[in-house]
Amino acid sequence: MSTGNMNLTLKVWRQKDNKAKGSLVDYKLSEISPDMSFLEMFDVLNEQLINKGDEPVVFDHDCREGICGACSMFINGRPHGPKDLVTTCQLHMRSFKDGDTIVVEPWRAAAFPVIKDLTVDRTAFDRIIAAGGFISVNTGNAQDANALPIPKLQADAAFEAAACIGCGACVATCKNASAMLFTSAKISQLALLPQGQPERYRRAQSMVAQMDAEGFGNCTNTGACEAECPKGISLENIARMNRDFYAAKFVSEEEV
């Protein structure tokens, strides 16, 4: 099934379970096609491991088209590898050279404990969303489309924030393992739209509180998250979250 001519050395993090001590294990791969995606290359590795009777490498993947945010490999020191604005499934082996050594590690953060090998527990993100990343809408007939006028710039900014797929690359690359880019995108996508206004300041307070409770680090504005985000989420969202948080804490009368 391998039809290419690339020979690679992989150094892959293997860790039996959350409690076990992990280590980097070397694997040699040959005849890898440059047209394979990075995950297909891992499929090849796993087939070989299974055929040898070894345990395959456990890694997260789902849609394999860059929209689900499941694939989470830290490749040669960068989340999702050397290319900008792609997830691991969108990374192809042509981005590497024949004979390369590739180091693959899981996301590293206290709030993202390793489950096994390259898979980490990202449910901390789900709990941040559950804390306030929603709007309350009465059920019943759908409103007329465009009943609420929304300025184009506003709609665009909300859409760009909503592009966040919750992959965790921002946390993985941040030197502080801070989740501020993720949280700010999830706050902004609602704070920018009229439907998000009733719960706007309650949302900012409860989502930030949940983010802190999960044990993520504190943002120091290095900008690494923005640079590594596969969806190009902007630091403007963090500034907006800060503004909403200050307004909520120092101006709003609602305590959360």
Binding site: K11, R78, A177, D212, G217, T220, Y246, E255
Partner: protein
């Protein structure tokens, strides 16, 4: 009876205010202990120190007039005797301590947020080294500040300046001249100013981002001003020990 009733009423009102004050502070304390509040403290104290550096740098640059320090001593005398300045000095020291202590706490907390480090981490691909090294640069500056304050501040405020200039003012200029005859002091100051340059290069724009001031119209200007501010301030400060050591100013 009426008097007693009124007194207790007054006491109740005071207790009420105290309780309300406590509630307000509890609410603010909650804000400042959150990750964004901690950033805010760093940003506000940082901007305050940035403002201070402008004043400090301007007055110190009077030495470049090369007039034997007469105008500089005049400025230093004003700073040492004006009650408004002396009052601000207390706030400055508090600001400095809060910035340093909070910075160190944040550095340790952030390290703890990633207990297992990466075997390979290519940070340069996505951020500037100095933006990732604010804790280190700040620690170097803190060590420098201990030396710096004992060189000048302790002398001018507490132990006393030994000589007077022709105007009869404390000759802080002579203290500078004396101090910067020592090559090691000069080297330490130069290294510290390199740290300051990089600390400011990140800190200036970062403080505005933390305050939430990220705006299509203003942010490019803020970043530009930040770069020029950092370069000008650090260069002027760095030139002072060298100018004295080499005898460019006498």
């Amino acid at each position: 009876m009426i008097f007693v009733f009124k007194l207790s009423h007054l006491l109740n009102t005071f207790a009420g205010i105290e309780l309300k004050y406590k509630n307000l502070m509890a609410s603010f304390g909650n804000a400042f202990s959150s990750s964004i509040g901690k950033k805010l403290i760093m940003g506000i104290t940082g901007l305050f120190l940035i403002l201070f550096l402008i004043v400090h740098c301007f007055i110190n640059s009077l030495i470049f007039l090369n007039d034997g320090g007469l105008i500089f001593n005049l400025g230093a005398h004003f700073m040492a005797t004006n009650w408004l300045i002396r009052g601000s000095e207390v706030i400055l020291m508090l600001g400095l301590i809060v910035h340093a202590v909070q910075g160190l706490r944040l550095t340790f907390q952030n390290q703890a947020a990633r207990p297992v480090k990466y075997a390979v981490n290519n940070g340069n691909a996505n951020s500037k080294w100095y933006s990732r090294s604010m804790g280190l640069l700040g620690t170097l500056l803190l060590i420098f500040l201990i030396v710096h304050l004992s060189n000048f501040w302790v002398v001018s405020r507490f132990t006393g300046i030994p000589t007077e200039d022709v105007n009869g003012l404390e000759n802080l200029y002579a203290v500078m001249q004396q101090t910067f005859q020592n090559i090691w002091i000069v080297v330490l100051y130069e290294l510290a100013m390199v740290s300051l340059l990089y600390h400011l290069l990140h800190g200036f724009a970062s403080a505005f981002q933390t305050l939430g001031w990220n705006h299509r119209k203003y942010s490019p200007l803020i970043k530009g001003i930040g770069v020029w501010y950092s370069i000008i301030i650090s260069l002027l400060f760095a030139a002072m020990p060298v100018a004295f050591y080499t005898g460019l100013i006498k």
